[in-house]
């Protein structure tokens, strides 16, 4: 088991570099040769963020409050990831998709990396330069930088999502657009629900 973990850790690090440098080839490799152990490391990375998030968002450094926030965020992200991947899988199968759910879930879990990057970046900026932004030239300049980085991470996320559907379900662009057209309203309603419950303001998709 320890051998499998070490090999999976190496594979995970290699995939992390790959989704930045060569996303197309990396996703092909994830779907063909990825192991479920890699989900463990994705989960570990997410847990690090949830810990940071709990500390930043909780006004008082109390273990019970921090733990409650950590557990709430972790469960919400897990449920969201499983729900979204399951929804895309079911709709993808209706569109003639082929493949295994396990492999698709692995591919989809790596699309959480850009989301994680954005949330980490925003948390850091919240601590260093908290909002609101003013209309002073420095405020506008910082806003431009923040929005540019957010847009880069968003487009990167779109590319990785497309690749996970392309290789995970073996679909072409037209079918993928059809799937996204159907799933987008459902995910939108889910996100509004999460907002109303006070779990996410920006959905952790």
């Amino acid at each position: 088991m320890s051998d499998a973990l070490i090999v999976s850790l190496y594979s995970f690090i290699r995939t992390l570099v790959g989704i930045v440098v060569r996303p197309y080839e990396t996703y092909r490799r994830i779907i063909l040769k990825g192991t479920s152990w890699e989900l463990l490391f994705v989960g570990a990375l997410l847990s690090v963020y949830f810990t940071v998030n709990a500390i930043v968002k909780t006004p008082a450094f109390r273990p019970f409050v921090l733990t409650r926030h950590f557990v709430k965020t972790s469960v919400a992200v897990l449920v969201t990831a499983l729900f979204v991947s399951w929804l895309l899988w079911i709709v993808g199968k209706c569109f003639g998709g082929k493949g295994e759910y396990k492999r698709f879930l692995l591919g989809w879990s790596y699309t959480l990396i850009p989301t994680l990057c954005w949330f980490f970046f925003t948390s850091l900026l919240y601590v260093i330069i908290p909002p609101p932004r003013t209309t002073h030239p420095t405020g506008v300049a910082l806003s431009l930088v923040f929005l540019t980085i957010s847009a880069v991470l968003f487009f990167w996320k779109i590319i990785l999502s497309y690749l996970s559907l392309r290789f995970g379900l073996k679909l072409d662009l037209v079918r993928i657009l059809g799937i996204l057209l159907i799933c987008a309203p459902v995910i939108g309603i889910y996100s509004i629900g999460m907002y109303r419950l006070g779990i996410f303001r920006v959905p952790f998709l």
Partner: protein, 76 residues
């Protein structure tokens, strides 16, 4: 030896043919042109695209961009 080679060829062939080729009708050459740039190291191109988009947004909504930033900064 010949069988092992043939098996490797068959495996590679099925991997290649498993995925349907990507076609978008008459837009296929433009699609291939765009995706060629995004297959390897897409971040610099995404950065240029995002910069252009955000500058256009700034010209569109002006200093309203600070309101959007404040909203997103509280979004985590």
């Amino acid at each position: 030896m010949k069988d092992a080679l043939y098996e490797r060829f068959q495996k590679k062939w099925s991997q290649t043919m498993d995925l349907p080729p990507q076609t978008v009708g008459p837009l296929t050459p433009y699609y291939k042109m765009v995706t060629k740039q995004l297959k390897v190291m897409p971040l610099p191109i995404l950065f240029l695209l995002s910069t252009a988009l955000i500058i256009c947004l700034f010209f569109l909504i002006g200093s309203g961009i600070t309101f959007l930033t404040s909203l997103l900064q509280r979004g985590f």
